[in-house]
């Protein structure tokens, strides 16, 4: 258990910069998720903390130890890889006990501890099997067992759930969170799946092109994305980002389509962000937007509306769907106070335009 700090960390391969000026603090016992599209440097950051990649400049500390130039074995971290990296020639018991061999733990002790860990993960019946005789979910647990047996300072997870099927992924996610809460070990978790990041993290770090675009609690990031990139990346379905001219309570698109947005403390050319849940279609025969597609998801439906050539996405409660079918003409309005306003050129969030119910300053949560 320890505080982990990245201070001005850079990583380049030859002349290509992969991670630049990463400053990050993982509070003791926190669960931090690095999330971003592929190639954004999230895995590289994790591997630098593990010691599997060298750091070009900057320092990484775990607790009060500077680990920047230490070998992986001296860092006291445990890692779960995407492919689990179980040792194929060892049984489940030996796999879990393997890290204790490094610390010269007597064999009998090590195996006994492995049995206990396996018991706590529900692997007791599989102890003598080889990894290839296990299902994906079981392999995953073995990998977690091997990570927790040593009670490391930091847990590292590199997309550990992406090889599981959807149902198992959700179950394992919950379980992972319970284990982390129980052990209270600082966690750094890498994923490309924003939903996973939202549900798992105490703090999420959205990365883009080797930089931390935004750091904050999932709710901060969701409610006050610092720029259009974060806004589009976090949340599903994706936030509608509309270029338009804001004046009064209306945003006018270049096509002439007018969207009612409520009172907003900004005007002029902007990029307007509206989450699909906050965009309400109302049936109106004289409106100039038309429902293009309705995708029913059970309790909700995703409605794609063609607003004079611009496709906008709305999420509508199934109960309010009556009358809305493909081809229906609808008027669109954003829920008052629910719009995000970004600079049309830079994509940065305009300060002071946050949702009223979560009044967080976008600038402060950026690092």
């Amino acid at each position: 258990m320890a505080i982990v700090r990245f201070s001005g960390v850079n990583k380049s391969f030859r002349s290509t910069s992969v991670v630049s000026d990463l400053n990050l603090e993982l509070p003791d016992g926190s669960f931090t998720v690095l999330v971003g599209p592929s190639g954004c440097g999230k895995s590289t950051s994790l591997r630098m903390l593990a010691g599997l990649e060298s750091v070009t400049s900057g320092t990484i500390t775990i607790g009060d130890r500077d680990v920047t130039n230490l070998q992986p074995r001296d860092r006291d971290v445990a890692m779960v890889f995407q492919n689990y990296a179980l040792y194929p020639h060892l049984s489940v018991r030996e796999n879990i006990a393997f890290p204790l061999r490094a610390s010269k733990e007597p064999r009998a002790n090590a195996l006994k501890r492995a049995d206990e860990v396996a018991e706590s993960l529900g692997l007791a019946k599989l102890l003598d099997r080889k990894p290839k005789a296990l299902s994906g979910g079981q392999q995953q647990r073995v990998a977690i067992g091997r990570a927790i047996i040593r009670e490391p300072s930091v847990f590292l997870f590199d997309e550990p759930l992406s090889n599981l099927d959807a149902k198992l992924r959700v179950e394992t996610r919950t379980e992972l969170l319970q284990i982390q809460r129980r052990l209270g070990i600082t966690c750094l978790y890498v994923t490309h799946d924003q939903e996973e990041a939202m549900t798992l993290s105490d703090r999420m770090v959205v990365m883009r092109d080797g930089r931390a675009a935004q750091v904050g609690t999932p709710i901060e990031v969701f409610n006050s994305p610092v720029d259009t990139f974060v806004a589009a990346f976090v949340g599903s379905p994706k936030m509608n980002l509309i270029a338009g001219e804001l004046s009064g309570e209306t945003c006018t698109l270049p096509s002439g389509f007018a969207l009612t947005v409520g009172r907003v403390k900004a005007s002029g050319a902007v990029t307007l962000g509206v989450r699909p849940d906050d965009l309400v279609p109302t049936v109106a025969d004289d409106a100039d937007a038309m429902v293009k597609l309705v995708e029913l998801l059970g309790p909700r439906a995703i409605v794609t509306v063609d607003a004079r050539g611009t496709d906008l996405t709305c999420v509508v409660e199934a109960a309010r769907l009556s009358g809305i079918t493909e081809g229906t003409r609808v008027a669109l309005s954003a829920r008052p106070g629910a719009v995000h306003v970004f600079d049309a050129k830079t994509g940065q969030r305009f300060v002071g335009t946050d949702r009223e119910n979560y009044n967080t300053d976008g600038n402060e949560s950026r690092s």
Binding site: L52, A78, F98, P99, A102
Partner: protein
């Protein structure tokens, strides 16, 4: 239906033809080893009273000692090759050590006629007063067994996921421990095959032994060649000696045939 039957007959016939052409020399040698010199003049003679003269002659000629020396040479060569070769193959597979040039250039010794290499070996052996001992033979055999073993193992090492050794490093082991405890066990089958393959290469080699240790330290192929005397070839005794030499190779090939294909294709296909 009729078509496929013709095809089947053709296939079986082909297999028999192949089988006979491979086995015929062995059968002929087996028969020759129990014939008298007079009977040997009639190659179509299949029923005769067998004699063990050839075998007695061979066994009293020190062939077993020669086989023992061959075994020492082959085992030492293979032992060194597997230890050194596995480390080399690992470095080439993981780090592209030496680039493409090394990877394919290391088989250059196979392309050169052995005659090019044997004289340097002989002069060095003379200078060190090691001629007609097993030492230069072992070194000469290393010159072709080690590259083949290394090359053979590259494909096996490439098949081991990198994350496996990274995991071992994070789990608290040094790089060498990760190699020894985690990577090596994954390639054990390949190493076994490489060892047996290397053993047969060394065991079958006549040329280097003949030049570097022709006398009291003669290895098995040299001893077999010794039955070609100034009074003519002693076919009976030679056949018996050949059978002694062939048995280990046949047994070995039986055990490694599948890995052999895997090793050769694994090394050849992946660039």
């Amino acid at each position: 239906m009729k078509n496929s039957r013709t095809l089947t007959i053709f296939r079986v016939a082909l297999l028999w033809a192949a089988g006979i052409s491979v086995l015929f020399p062995v059968v002929w040698i087996a028969l020759a080893s129990v014939k008298t010199p007079e009977q040997l003049n009639d190659p179509f003679l299949f029923s005769f009273a067998p004699t063990l003269d050839g075998w007695r002659n061979v066994l009293s000629s020190g062939i077993l000692a020669a086989a023992g020396r061959s075994a020492i040479v082959a085992v030492t060569t293979v032992g060194i090759s597997v230890v050194v070769g596995s480390m080399g193959a690992y470095a080439i597979a993981r780090y592209r050590a030496g680039g493409t040039a090394t990877r394919f250039g290391m088989l250059a010794a196979q392309v050169l006629p052995p005659a090019v290499l044997v004289f340097p070996f002989l002069t060095m052996a003379y200078a060190l007063r090691l001629n007609d001992t097993l030492v230069p033979v072992i070194f000469a055999h290393l010159s072709f067994v080690l590259p083949v073993v290394t090359w053979f193992l590259i494909g096996f090492f490439e098949a081991v996921p990198r994350s496996l050794e990274e995991q071992a490093q994070v789990d608290g082991f040094t790089r060498f421990q990760a190699f020894r405890l985690v990577v090596l066990p994954q390639v054990f089958p390949g190493m076994g095959a490489a060892a047996i393959f290397g053993f047969t290469l060394s065991w079958n080699d006549l040329f280097y032994g003949l030049i570097l240790a022709p006398g009291k330290a003669a290895i098995l192929p040299v001893a077999i060649a010794g039955f070609n005397t100034f009074r003519g070839v002693q076919i009976g005794s030679m056949s018996a000696a050949i059978l002694i030499a062939v048995v280990p190779v046949v047994v070995a090939s039986f055990f490694i045939q599948r890995r052999l294909v895997q090793g050769i294709s694994g090394g050849a296909v992946k660039f």
